[in-house]
């Protein structure tokens, strides 16, 4: 709770700083502030309580994920220094928006009431619409914003309708009440429909097939930093929220009562297989790195969806997977930001010979890609491992085999980038070593590897 308030306060401070002409101080201050918030959040860890007659409930789950979000936001804010250096007047707005977005994110994982949940989503989405379209003179950015906005609000409509049906069935928005009464037999048919609608809405946010079409276009069109935010923070938030929904409303057991569980599982399996396959295969032929990462994000969404099959056990796994994925993503995007800062596109050709010009960055990008591909000691590997382990335990060996085949395919396009960096001749010289970008890249990849070396740290948090 305090976290949420603190974050919001921080956002307002950012705006104030602009007014007080402390533009220089904004980013350092925000980072410090966020670190403070992080500390605060850590203090809240482990204490289960709810605020505002259960509008917000703080739980291990929520705090753990909130800390992840905050860390990601720190990186993103750090990166925005160089990203917005040529329109300084807007920097406070952008940072502030990011902070508010974080607030929305935190609200989404710590909601105790569907109203809070809805508000969270909307805060996040609206902030994202703005960021996506933020480069207003660039037609691509406009298009991305528009697409995202239209489809996003459409999805929110669906979610809203779902919430409404749930409310209709349960007569309450309170998660606890709903979950209790959802166990009772003979529920009106529109309760499952409502749930499905909400889940579909969330699947849209996660960008799972077949609700994924927006992702590549929006990722490509939006400014690189926004893409970074979407593909790391936004995706993680969405999947976490989806997970919390399914577990919090203990959907599984209620579906069991109406013997719909099997149906639900089939749906999840199909969706996750579809997501990872489509994501990976489509990524093979992409030349734009952001677009490629969008598809890879879709496939990762497919992987993450597997956790919904073992909701009771796999919160930790999901946390680990998301952390691994997001950290790798941050590292990758910081390199992309550096490489493509004075290009209008993010094509692979920009990366030619990076291994010669900037060995460190090339190594970092390689590492993050290897992590996404799931090569050992990078946490990506362990994430996949634990995920598969869970899923095989639940007896979905076929699904795991499909996942394995997918990870093989994924190597194909991750390595396209690595090849470009190491086996092509540099086509430009890259000057300057912006400290913040390097720092962000190094720290994030270091965290990623640390996670790989000591997985228990994160994995056992939510036991």
């Amino acid at each position: 709770m305090n976290t949420l308030i603190a974050i919001t306060g921080l956002g307002i401070f950012c705006l104030l700083f602009e007014i007080l002409n402390l533009r220089k101080a904004i980013i350092p201050f925000t980072i410090l502030g966020l670190l403070g918030v992080l500390a605060l959040n850590f203090c809240e860890f482990g204490m289960e309580q709810s605020y505002y007659n259960n509008m917000i409930t703080v739980s291990k789950f929520s705090t753990a994920f909130s800390s992840l979000f905050i860390i990601l936001t720190i990186f993103l804010v750090a990166l925005s220094h160089n990203f917005y250096h040529n329109h300084p007047t807007k920097i406070s707005d952008f940072v502030a928006i990011k902070i508010f977005l974080l607030a929305g994110a935190v609200a989404m994982v710590s909601f105790g009431n569907l109203a809070m949940f809805f508000l969270g989503i909307e805060i996040l989405s609206i902030a994202l619409y703005v960021l996506a379209a933020s480069d207003r003179l660039n037609i691509k950015s406009n298009e991305a914003g528009m697409k995202y906005f239209l489809m996003g609000s459409f999805a929110s409509g669906i979610i809203l309708f779902g919430i409404c049906l749930i409310y209709g069935a349960m007569g309450s928005f309170d998660v606890l009440e709903i979950s209790e009464s959802s166990l009772s037999a003979e529920l009106p048919i529109w309760f499952p429909i409502g749930m499905i609608l909400v889940i579909v809405g969330m699947l849209f946010k996660v960008a799972a097939v077949p609700f994924h079409f927006w992702a590549p276009d929006v990722y490509e069109g939006s400014p690189a930093l926004t893409t970074a935010l979407m593909s790391t923070l936004a995706k993680v938030v969405a999947i976490a929220t989806l997970f919390k929904l399914v577990s919090g409303l203990n959907l599984i057991s209620s579906l069991e009562n109406q013997d719909l569980l099997h149906t639900f599982e089939i749906i999840v399996v199909v969706l996750s297989i579809a997501s990872m396959s489509v994501g990976n295969i489509m990524a093979l032929r992409q030349v734009n790195v952001k677009r490629m990462l969008a598809f890879s994000g879709i496939s990762h969404a497919g992987f993450m969806l597997m956790t919904l099959l073992t909701v009771s056990a796999s919160a930790g796994v999901l946390l680990y997977y998301t952390a691994a994925y997001a950290l790798a993503g941050i590292a990758a995007f910081s390199v992309i930001l550096y490489v493509c800062r004075d290009h209008d596109n993010e094509d692979i050709t920009n990366f030619h010979g990076l291994g010669k010009t900037n060995p460190l960055l090339a190594a970092i990008l390689t590492a993050s890609l290897l992590s996404m591909a799931g090569i050992p000691i990078f946490s990506g590997f362990f994430a996949k491992l634990f995920l598969f382990n869970q899923t095989i335990q639940a007896g979905y060996i076929g699904l795991v085999i499909v996942a394995v085949i997918n990870s093989i395919i994924s190597v194909g396009y991750y390595f396209k980038l690595i090849l470009a960096m190491y086996s092509k001749e540099p086509n430009q010289e890259r000057t300057g070593k912006p400290f913040l970008i390097y720092a962000a890249a190094v720290i994030s990849i270091a965290l990623n590897i640390a996670l790989g070396l000591f997985p228990s740290l994160v994995l056992d948090l939510l036991k």
């Binding site: 090569i375 590997f381 382990n389 095989i392 085999i401 190491y422 228990s456 056992d460």
Partner: protein
């Protein structure tokens, strides 16, 4: 002091090499690899003295993954092979100039680290991690420092990586499944204890087989081999053929057979036949290769076919012969590829057609090369003969025809190797001048040859080292 010391030395060595800069890196790398060698010899003494040199510390609680390094005789033998070959390989590269040498040598040491880990790991997952780790450095070595047309190379290397990764991911799935059965533990002894149904074992066996058949490689999974061997820098080829390929064979003995004994017994004939088919196929394809490195690649395809056949016999002789042959082949193949490199340094070509008439100009090199050739065709009194004889004998115990067909290797092998030797070394004096081996090159050759001849007459130390652990593995295989 336990086996982890070797790993630590190698890992530190890798970084030290990288940070020592391009000038020094090669020396530093050599230094550390020699340190690792010394350390492993020390450990061997401790092991023979009966000390416990293995190490188990819990790493991840849930699923239960522990950092377990267990050095029994077999593992020690393979570790020694790695530790002995690495300095030779590094030293053999001294004649060449590599751009960005620090990374190059760093990667070599790192690969040695990963491979040593693979041999030592006694926890399924740890083993898998090392197994995958070994893949990454060789990928970059082949990609960046390789030779030939860049586009071709890219294709070959990526194919190699994806292909091998594909195999090993199925192995990973198998491991996870096994650990489920062993309620969450990946420790090898827990996995050994499992009693799986024949059907389960069949699938497990298949998953492992895919991983190993691609890595070793057995036909028809070998298509990556020749290209990569040809495209990779010779050092990389040596690492691949000398050590990495042994990882697969070692794993067959250590993991595949004991974990799925019923399946192994059930389908023994199929896999022996596959191995022997590899022998014949490899030898025949090797006959008409114009590229020296490709020819050697196919010859090693033939040899590993025989080794694999030997280990699938599930007899003590078969396993023992296989291990002996693995070690012998490791040395001889490194020597042969080095010979190819020596020629390349002088003639800038690997086309056999452009060679010939070298003997008159370089007696020393000729005799060394000839000895290596003879060793690789398993002339008695070379180490390879001991291995090959044992393997063939074990095959004959299964079915005499296996021995006959497998034995064709001594005819076909002689055919293509001597044919190669004739066209590379003999004939009218070559127009291009060929300087005889330099001191460095000579040393590398001398070491290899010394090893081959010594163990050719006195393999007892190695046999005594490996036999007990092989017997325990056989007990696991025959436990039910």
């Amino acid at each position: 002091m336990n086996v982890s010391t070797i790993l630590i030395i190698l890992l530190i060595g890798a970084f030290a090499t990288y940070f020592s800069g391009d000038k020094l890196s090669s020396k530093v790398a050599l230094l550390f690899s020699l340190a690792a060698l010394g350390c492993s010899i020390l450990l061997l003494n401790n092991y023979n003295a009966g000390e416990n040199i293995s190490l188990i510390t819990s790493w991840i609680n849930q699923p239960k993954i522990s950092f377990a390094l267990n050095a029994d005789g077999l593992a020690m033998a393979m570790v020694l092979l790695t530790a002995a070959l690495t300095p030779i390989i590094i030293f053999s590269s001294f004649g060449n100039e590599y751009k960005n040498a620090k990374a190059f040598y760093g990667l070599i040491l790192f690969m040695a680290f990963a491979m040593t880990g693979t041999f030592l790991a006694s926890d399924g997952l740890l083993y898998y991690i090392f197994w995958e780790l070994a893949l990454v450095p060789i990928y970059f070595i082949a990609l960046i420092w390789g030779n030939g047309d860049a586009e071709e190379r890219r294709k070959a290397v990526v194919k190699f990586f994806i292909y091998t990764l594909a195999g090993s991911l199925f192995m990973l799935t198998a491991f996870i499944y096994l650990s489920q059965k062993a309620n969450g533990s990946f420790l090898i002894e827990d996995l050994y204890k499992l009693n799986l149904s024949a059907c389960e074992q069949f699938w497990i066996f298949l998953a492992f087989f895919l991983a190993y058949a691609i890595k070793i490689p057995l036909i028809p999974f070998h298509t990556w081999q020749a290209n990569v061997y040809q495209k990779a820098p010779t050092v990389g080829t040596m690492l691949l053929s000398g050590i990495m390929l042994k990882m697969g064979l070692y794993s067959v003995i250590r993991w595949q057979l004991p974990l799925a004994p019923i399946a192994a017994k059930e389908y023994m004939y199929v896999f022996i036949a596959l191995g022997i088919a590899g022998v014949i196929y490899g030898s025949i394809v090797a006959l008409r290769q114009n590229d020296l490195k490709k020819l050697l690649a196919y010859s090693s395809l033939a040899h590993v076919g025989l080794i694999a056949a030997g280990s699938y016999t599930l007899t003590l002789d078969g396993l023992r012969g296989a291990v002996l042959q693995m070690i012998a082949h490791g040395f001889v193949v490194v020597g042969l590829f080095f010979a190819a490199e020596v020629i390349f340094r002088r003639f800038e070509t690997r086309e056999i057609a452009e060679m010939g008439g070298i003997r008159t100009q370089s007696p020393k090199f000729t005799s060394m090369f000839l000895i290596l050739v003879l060793a690789s065709v398993a002339l008695p009194s070379t180490f390879n003969f001991v291995g090959e004889f044992t393997v063939l004998y074990s095959l004959s115990q299964i079915n005499i025809w296996f021995a006959v067909l497998g034995g064709t290797t001594i005819i076909l092998g002689a055919y293509y190797m001597l044919r190669m030797f004739q066209h590379v070394m003999l004939g009218e004096t070559n127009s291009k001048t060929f300087a005889d081996v330099s001191l460095n090159e000579g040393i590398s050759f001398a070491v290899i040859i010394a090893v081959l001849l010594f163990f050719g007459f006195y393999p007892k130390p190695i046999t005594d080292l490996i036999t007990p652990s092989l017997e325990t593995i056989l007990q696991v295989i025959n436990k039910n």
